[in-house]
Assembly symmetry: C2
Homo-oligomer: 197 residues x 2
């Protein structure tokens, strides 16, 4: 998705060969027009898949999930990173380790909002090693529902998340696939393929 | 806003005289169409106020803020509830006590995303005693920016948040004002005024 890749090039900050900071349009300040376009494109890729629920994780997954859920005619549910006191115990729980934050969070989804008839599109802002994705998949499976696929805003293709997901048969659609952050530069997977022609 | 009040009546759950749970359309599952309408109505109320930034707080403030920011032509920034390791130290910080979660969180906003020329609309899902609102106001003031007003999805009018904000001169626009949760029933402020005629 060119508009997204341009934003990453122009506004993303490469902090190391592992860390791409996109706080100015996705993770802290939100470029609303861009995130609405991102959601629309994710919906387009799954439009014939009879999605009933979009499942994401707070907080950065919410913005791109809004128009995706709207265009798919699906409900949007966001997993919470820790249990609040007003949430009853009737929840699905999984564990997610964040390398960025160096901590393990429980993620929870109320049993009221996922059931075995649901066909679920999982949306997340980043795919790196797949920790969050597998936590969300675990929750969908606990509900007996079907994971139709994963819609990702930015994939770090130099980490093994996509491979691990595809090895287990999951469909992954990523709108920007980052091949490398070497030398402070963002290189996308499709640029690499072009330069190999 | 009738559509919102109907959702509160039909889908809200009164857990006590203090606690209204709206997990099925705002705080956990999101009714995307409704939240987009909520954001559009908040934008309408501030459309002549030259808003440059919409400031909200993760996670439930994000959904209603999307269309508000879009329609106002403003950037959207969400305050974070705790500092992540990839965020630098160049942040504004304030403290917010949550009665629901019985804990105090630091809320932070990067200094990159608020400056003294900003005219800020603060949006939040609930207004009760005003803890979150005053934390966000504190951050806007640290930036030297202007708080134009507060846009609230659901106001618990039986708590003193609105009064405290108005006493300090802030404009508060709430789309549903709950007068009482007595007897397991939601009564809105405008119903009360009607029944007093």
């Amino acid at each position: 998705m060119d508009k997204l890749k341009n934003a990453i090039r122009e506004k993303g900050r490469v902090l190391s060969t592992e860390v791409l900071k996109v706080d100015s349009f996705l993770n802290h300040q939100i470029d609303v027009d861009l995130m609405m376009s991102v959601g629309e494109e994710l919906a387009r890729r799954f439009q014939t898949d009879s999605i009933t629920k979009v499942l994401t994780i707070e907080s950065s997954g919410i913005a791109p999930s809004m128009t995706a859920a709207r265009d798919l005619g699906a409900s949007l549910v966001f997993a919470r990173k820790k249990k609040s006191l007003t949430m009853n115990n009737d929840v699905f729980v999984s564990q997610v380790y964040s390398f960025t934050k160096q901590e393990t969070n429980d993620i929870t989804v109320s049993k009221d909002f996922l059931n075995k008839n649901d066909r679920v599109l999982i949306i997340d802002d980043f795919l790196a090693n797949g920790q969050a994705a597998f936590g969300l998949i675990d929750i969908v499976q606990q509900a007996g529902a079907t994971v139709v696929g994963l819609g990702i805003v930015i994939e770090k293709s130099f980490q093994d998340g996509r491979q691990r997901l595809e090895d287990q048969g999951y469909r992954v659609e990523s709108l920007a696939r980052v091949h490398s952050l070497e030398n402070g530069q963002v290189t996308f997977v499709d640029e690499l393929q072009l330069s190999n022609i």
